[in-house]
């Protein structure tokens, strides 16, 4: 049952038996993981490219429960380039200001001239506040630009409004100048 108790002096074995009673369900082997060994196991810090089962954790026939297999999606990065088409917003505002009417109109002309062209409208916020709530606020900015474009005759099928929330600031720093540059919607070709 337990290597801990076996091979000890007799007094200790007897004492150990008493301990087992005292400790109830504290099994000596409870750390042994019940999980089956999976052949895709990769151990700590090992890159995902390592051959399956190559890790030392498998050498004992025991799956290390701490195992985490890393995935790298860097090459999946298909984010478009900015293209210089940006609408900026006031604090806590979703109104497309008059000064950006030109940006919206030129994009509307471009999209109306080529009905096959599709763009992604990315809403962004400044760094203040929660990740998810800012994602929703950025979405509202993207939707405002989308609405401006459809009012100028662009088909909604050419448009998709999405948000990056506060995750992709263009300017670092915690001051109004930086925040003003980050409260924006970017119009990106797809």
């Amino acid at each position: 049952m337990t290597s801990f108790l076996h091979g000890r002096a007799a007094w200790l074995a007897a004492f150990g038996a008493a301990v087992l009673v005292l400790t109830g369900c504290a099994s000596n082997t409870r750390v042994e993981p019940p999980a089956p060994v999976e052949n895709r196991l990769v151990g700590a810090g090992t890159p995902a490219t390592v051959a399956p089962g190559a890790n030392a954790g498998a050498t004992t026939g025991q799956a290390a429960q701490s195992t985490v297999t890393p995935v790298d999606v860097t090459r999946n990065d298909t984010a478009a380039n900015a293209g210089g088409r940006v609408v900026y917003f006031d604090f806590d505002s979703y109104v497309v200001k008059d000064e950006f009417r030109g940006v919206v109109e030129s994009n509307a002309r471009r999209l109306s001239a080529d009905r096959k062209r599709r763009i992604l409208i990315e809403g962004h916020t400044d760094e203040r506040g929660g990740h998810e709530y800012n994602l929703a606020l950025g979405q509202r900015r993207a939707e405002a630009v989308l609405k401006s474009l459809t009012l100028l005759g662009v088909s909604e099928a050419q448009l998709e409004a999405v948000s990056f929330g506060k995750e992709k600031p263009v300017v670092g720093g915690s001051n109004e100048a930086a925040w003003a540059k980050n409260r924006r919607a970017e119009l990106k070709d797809r």
């Binding site: 290597s3 999976e38 999946n76 979405q139 409004a161 992709k168």
Partner: protein, 427 residues
């Protein structure tokens, strides 16, 4: 039960200054605060632990200390192991109520064998005698399990030290989703990307993580098996897909989708099947959090102006407002015992602070005096909250007890760490 050993929290009367134990520099555990009644416990250095990958007794000590329920009695330079017969009167004179000692042995097959005993030095009796043999990758896990067993033996409650957390780090234009031990150490990359990753959420079994990845140029919700890395996009609708939350029974995922025009809550099966819309109010509805019984969903809505926390039935319908103080309350997290909600409040000074609401009384307590708190998440035993904060221009992870008295800064090796989420009890 011995009255010294099993002191109940809150009955102690005299508050004791939390010992700032000289934890090894590699832990960088920073603990601050004044604790209520704490059990004084001595954890001797395990024999031969310096020859092992990790300093087992230091991990155990740091775990117990972070819980806020223990005061660590210095042990050095005692030369003790599990076979020692400690002189209990001597330990009593050092004001220890309990003592643990053990040995770390490297086995021929590469595994580690950990043996230890825990004594009640007041009664002069033995409380635990255990031997654990683990693969070398699980040595830290084994140390955390020892801390869990000691915690449970001395407090009567289940420990959470062998659980895992997930968090996101950002560095050099790269985002990484990490899984780490509950003390923030032993981090392992689960996902790396050049685009942001936000809002990780554990499945109730602890085998999968849901999260939002922007790798395709927009937010999409994925679910990934942590052990083997297999992942699937479960919400990739037109617009933005975000804020995943597993139901307590693991059968459903709540998500925020904008496919119908603005941010609304939906529920779906775990494979992304059987999509149902839960909210229809104009404005933003997001950040779903399930109650522990699975019957309610708490969420953030700006239907009344600024963002506030609301509660509705798990299948949608009428919602009632839950937060009333201040004009910006976000990121609700419900305690597994059903008693508390943690959330973030922005006060008039533009400070974002962790709050705790007692759901029975509605009483709200501010748990911090920091300015940039985010993303609270409860430990599975409802005794600690992990959250993100900021100091010195850096994002960092903190834990706090529910009375706000004992805080610990976790120090994973990555520089900017955020969005911590506490996993369930391990198997």
């Amino acid at each position: 039960m011995d009255r010294r050993l099993f002191l109940q929290r809150g009955l102690g009367g005299c508050a004791a200054l939390a010992t700032v134990f000289p934890a090894a520099s590699q832990f960088r555990v920073e603990i601050s605060g004044i604790g209520a009644a704490q059990v004084p416990v001595a954890i001797a250095r395990f024999r031969d632990e310096d020859k092992a990958l990790h300093p087992v007794s230091q991990i155990v000590r740091a775990d117990l200390e972070r819980s806020g329920l223990f005061k660590l009695v210095p042990t050095a330079p005692d030369n003790l192991d599990e076979n020692a017969r400690p002189v209990f009167t001597e330990w009593r004179s050092r004001n220890a109520d309990a003592l643990a000692a053990g040995t770390v042995t490297r086995l021929a097959d590469g595994r580690y064998d950990l043996r230890y005993r825990l004594w009640d030095v007041v009664k002069g009796t033995e409380l635990i005698a255990q031997s654990l043999a683990v693969p070398k990758e699980d040595l830290r896990l084994a140390a955390h399990r020892i801390a869990d067993d000691i915690y449970q033996k001395l407090t009567g409650e289940r420990g959470i030290f062998s659980t895992r957390i997930a968090y996101v780090s950002k560095g050099a234009g790269r985002y990484t989703l990490f899984v780490a031990d509950a003390d923030g150490e032993g981090s392992r990359s689960a996902l790396g990307s050049a685009q942001p990753i936000i809002s990780p959420a554990w499945s109730p079994e602890g085998n999968e993580l849901a999260y939002v990845s922007f790798e395709t140029g927009k937010p999409v919700v994925y679910v990934q098996d942590v052990l083997n890395g297999r992942r699937r996009a479960v919400a990739e609708f037109r617009g933005s897909n975000s804020a995943p939350a597993f139901s307590p029974d693991g059968a459903q995922l709540a998500v925020t989708l904008t496919r119908d025009g603005n941010s609304e809550l939906y529920a779906m099966g775990r494979q992304g099947d059987n999509l149902r819309r839960l909210t229809t109010a104009p404005g933003i509805d997001t950040e779903a959090a399930w109650s522990s019984d699975g019957r309610s969903i708490y969420f953030v809505s700006d239907r009344g102006g600024g963002p506030q926390v609301y509660r509705m039935g798990a299948s949608g319908g009428n919602a009632e407002r839950v937060t009333f103080s201040g004009n910006y309350n976000i990121s609700p997290a419900l305690s597994p015992d059903g008693r508390y909600m943690a959330y973030i409040n922005r006060n008039g000074g533009n400070q974002f602070r962790l709050q705790l609401m007692d759901l029975n009384s509605g009483t709200v307590t501010a748990l911090t005096d920091t300015n940039d708190d985010e993303s609270p998440s409860f430990a599975p035993n409802s005794r600690l909250i992990i959250y993100a904060s900021r100091a010195g221009g850096r994002d960092l992870l903190m834990t706090t007890t529910l009375d706000g008295l004992i805080k610990a800064r976790l120090s994973p090796p990555q520089a900017d760490v955020r969005e911590p989420v506490w996993g369930p009890y391990s198997r």
